[in-house]
Amino acid sequence: MRRLLKISLQKPELAAGLLLICLIVFFQVMSQGVFLGVANMRGVLGLLPEMALVAIGVTLLMICGEFDLSVGSVFALSPMTLAVLMTMGWGFWPALLIGLLVCAAIGLANGWLTIRFAIPSFITTLGMLFMARSLTIVISGGFPPRLKTDEIPMWLFVEFVGPGNLFRASFLWFVVIAILVSLLLSRTNFGNWVRATGGFLPAANAMGIPSSTVKIACFMICSVLAGLAGTIQVLRIGSPLPSIGEGLELAAVAAAVIGGTSLLGGIGSIIGGIVGATLIRVIDNGMVLSQVNGNWFKFAIGALTILAVVGNSWLRKRGRAMKVETA
């Protein structure tokens, strides 16, 4: 029993989950029950998949030891490509495919540049952040094209489903993808290579892992997930604005770190990234319900974010200090 507790506390994603529950209870009380009400939950759960999909990709990439700051721009570029192609008369599916292929190409470029020239991915993807955003504006001419909603199978992406219409279809996408990527990371040899590559690159290389390929694959997965998330968001809000996703890069990295992913690579879990993204969304939403003054809003968000990580680290430390032989 104590052994189990110890093991759980030491897992950062579980500690973060515990904090998440505390926060939910806190906000539920603060908001006098509105927080977990259907109306609010529908809002939270509608937005969550978009953030969480980005966080999944970024977490995977960070475990692999690299950064992606371009996710926010890719988030905008992919749906913009889709919308522009559709106004040019393309069907939804081919346009979607091209949109995601563009993301994959950007991921490939990020990875290739980073590895070929041995430069930090921070710079490659920072440059790509600017470039992809610029492309988004260029292809749209600055104006959001109208989305031909009637030609799009909305029910597949954003219609409400499930009991009490609590979820959107995007939630299912998210769950499926989360499970797949989790399995990829924890149960396959590819996942093993990702961890080794991020954990200690010289050793990974020495043991014959194709670490460049692994990294490029992670870059591509990350970009494609960001593009998919952006597409879902655009379908939900109905307008492919060229400005969506700005600032998402830091939020996604923060989600990963809150969930226990190391900035140095090698450590982390997909579920941790998801918990982190949820935590960020819950804090944001809960603060509104708690009627924080507009000018203090950011302060509260910042403080709670730090608090969440401090709490997480503290719980882990408690866990480690428990004197139970586990091995």
Partner: protein, 252 residues
């Protein structure tokens, strides 16, 4: 024809190195090394600190690129650009440093890059975790190392335990050529003896061994030939039977 010719020539060296040069930025670490490693032979590679031993074997293992010179494996010119290439040619290496990922478990470390899979598609597949656990326990027991569980992280092991895991890995995946760079460092007496026994046993298993050590007693206990390097060059290359610890010490 070719094949027959090669088969016939059983004395042909398994690895030949000709005029190998290596520059590390401002250091000329290998200055024209030529060396043959014969089949089923255990070679002791000795030399002062910084002589270039690790550099030589890291080129053979594909970790560093060479700057000049040729490498022949089984008589054919070999391009070894990555560790994977060396592995595919049958060269297995234990490095002096950097051979484990600290944040991963022992079982995973043992199998990195060569995971047993239950099912796979285009090289990516589901890990056979049960097999990884059992085989890793076995591999570790084989080197007389007593570890709590295969799920402990390598970064939490003592220095010798870590080295032991590296040895276990190499012994588990033995290949045509085994390169061991100072494998007995950090190891306890018992395990050291295991390693020496292992090097000795390679011959019976038709495996060529390259054993780097500063301990001449170990080298003389398990090798057939000793190669001494100094300042990036080979300065002595004799069968054990024709030399002595003193002679080797003298050239260093």
């Amino acid at each position: 024809m070719m094949t027959a010719a090669r088969e016939a020539n059983h004395d042909q060296p398994i690895i030949s190195v000709r005029n190998l040069h290596k520059w590390y930025s401002g250091v000329h670490a290998l200055k024209g090394v030529s060396l043959d490693f014969k089949r089923n032979e255990a070679v002791g590679l000795v030399g002062d600190n910084g002589a270039g031993k690790s550099t030589l074997i890291s080129i053979l293992a594909g970790l560093h690129p060479k700057d000049e010179g040729e490498i022949y494996v089984e008589g054919r010119p070999a391009e070894i650009n990555r560790p994977r290439d060396a592995m595919n040619l049958g060269i297995e290496t234990i490095y002096q440093y950097n051979s484990m990922v600290p944040n991963m478990s022992i079982a995973r470390n043992l199998f990195i890059g060569r995971e047993p899979l239950k099912a796979s598609f285009m090289g990516v597949g589901l890990l056979d975790q049960a097999r990884m656990r059992s085989e890793s326990m076995e591999a570790i027991a084989n080197v007389d190392l007593h570890l709590r569980s295969p799920d402990a992280l390598v970064g939490e092991l003592s220095g010798g335990q870590r080295q032991g895991v590296a040895i276990a890995r190499a012994m588990h995946f033995k290949s045509k050529v085994m390169i061991l760079d100072e494998p007995t460092n950090h190891l306890s007496v018992k395990e050291t003896n295991k390693v020496i026994g292992f090097v000795k046993s390679l011959k019976e298993q038709n495996v060529t061994g390259i054993f780097i050590s500063h301990n001449m007693h170990h080298v003389f206990a398990c090798c057939d030939r000793v190669v001494a390097m100094a300042l990036g060059k080979v300065v002595l290359d004799k069968p054990i039977s024709e030399t002595s610890i003193e002679e080797v010490h003298d050239v260093l």
